[in-house]
Amino acid sequence: MKKILEVNSFSKVYGSGCDCCFAETGPERTNICPGCGSVVAAHDVSFSLHQGEILGIMGESGSGKSTVVKSLFFDEPASWGQASFYDNGSRYDLFELNRAQQRQLRSQRFGMVYQNPHLGLNFAISAGGNIAERLLVAGDSHYQRIRSRAQDLLQRTEVLPERMDEIPRNFSGGMQQRVQIAKALATDPPLLFLDEVTTGLDLSVQAAILDLILEIQHELQTAMIVVTHDLGVIRLLADRTLVMKYGRIIEAGLTDQILEDPQHAYTQRLVASAL
């Protein structure tokens, strides 16, 4: 299996930052620097991801798990660190790219599905139009081809094709997530970020969405980073898991090992409370 992503010592600080930011924060303390009040959202985060692999990032709110994918997807600039994306024989130094290069990767090689569909979808335009946007950004300008591709994608994500011209506002929460997934998949990205995609959905809807994600992973061999606070999602989807607390990775390993033989006190508590 080929390596697709490698992150080294990624850090993200919100605020002015000071010399003691990293020394005074961490899993045993908090993520707010007592010296300057900056929020150390993530520090010294390193991991790698292989083609077709699903990596889970687990933690509670404030653990920095979403910060990691937001920076990789260029929603937020990284403060420090290095991230390499390997694609078609080229290496991209993600945190060194200019805006146009970022936009190109973001729109064609990465996909993102947000917990909040308002972040991933334009609610003023139709579901099909949302998918069309991604295809248009990627340079396709053939109306019929775009339309039939959008139709295929919606069918694939089990959204009725006859609803493709409706605006996402008319859809249920689960359906909105399906449209988001269809949009993310439009350009066959080798890397997909999923940020709490099932949080807040009904259990049966959650299950169906998780099924869909796994099917896609099997079919397309898409590498994914799944950010969640839900152990069930991790157990079902992730091959490997990182556990984060207050911006640090406190534990990393194969998902079954993290769940069956957790090493860190925090993870042990988390696993014990979920069973």
């Binding site: 299950a207 490997r240 194969l254 079954d256 042990q268």
Partner: protein, 239 residues
């Protein structure tokens, strides 16, 4: 014995550090054993002697506290499973090492035949071919045909166990770990499992197994390793 072992455990130890209770619980201590192609090594010992921990350690479901787990890959090189990179372990799980646990882990809404064929899908075997092989194993293990297209969620313990076994047996890995695979099976089905395991031996597959019933150990084991709850190491011997 001239055949080289495929797997060697050297002074394998597993302790659980429970932070909440501020305790370290020893599970397996100083385990030494070897597993050979085409042969079955049986792990025996009373409850609490850490038999399952050995299998979980080899499969990396548990981290090894100390010792080495030397595995000779299909490619010929020897790697220490206790220290290998997660990605290497995942790759071995996909293509070389199988594990039949007492509990079935499957995707909640998958058909039984797909659950069984899953490891083959991952190896890249054609879907129809994989399903055909899955059905053949299910047939051999006497799981009623009407269940094949249902999800195992609602199955009885014995049915689930057969699905789980079928999954491990169909994949035909180089090394198969079996953790009480017959615990909830009736004697007739047990004998079908025995036949299956014998055929795997003929296919040169190496096995390390924990059996609930001693007569199965007698029928199937080529070597027996006895673990004791004490913290001392134990050595393998001939049955």
């Amino acid at each position: 014995m001239t055949v080289a072992p495929i797997l060697r455990l050297e002074n394998f130890c597993k302790n659980f550090a429970l932070h909440e209770q501020d305790k370290v619980i020893p599970s397996s201590a100083q385990v030494n054993l070897s597993v050979y192609p085409g042969r079955l090594t049986a792990l025996i010992g009373p409850t609490g002697s850490g038999k399952s921990s050995v299998l979980n350690g080899i499969y990396r479901t548990y981290l090894t506290s100390s010792g080495r787990i030397l595995y000779r890959c299909a490619a010929g090189e020897e790697i220490d499973l206790a220290r290998a990179d997660d990605h290497d372990i995942l790759a071995l799980r996909r293509s070389e090492i199988g594990f039949v646990t007492q509990f079935l882990h499957f995707l909640p809404r998958q058909k039984t035949e797909d659950v069984v064929a899953q490891p083959l899908y991952q190896q890249g075997v054609d879907k129809e071919e994989a399903r055909a092989r899955a059905r053949a194993t299910l047939e051999a293990l006497n799981l009623p045909r009407r269940l094949w297209s249902l999800s195992p969620t609602t199955f009885s313990g014995g049915e689930k166990q057969r699905v789980n076994l079928a999954r491990g047996l169909t994949a035909r890995p180089r090394l198969l770990l079996l953790d009480e695979p017959t615990a909830s099976l009736d004697p007739r089905t047990c004998q079908r499992v025995v036949a299956q395991i014998k055929s795997l031996k003929k296919a040169n597959i190496a096995m390390l197994a924990i059996f609930h019933q001693m007569d199965l150990v007698k029928q199937l084991a080529d070597e027996v390793v006895e673990l004791s709850p004490a913290a001392e190491g134990v050595m393998g011997g001939q049955p």
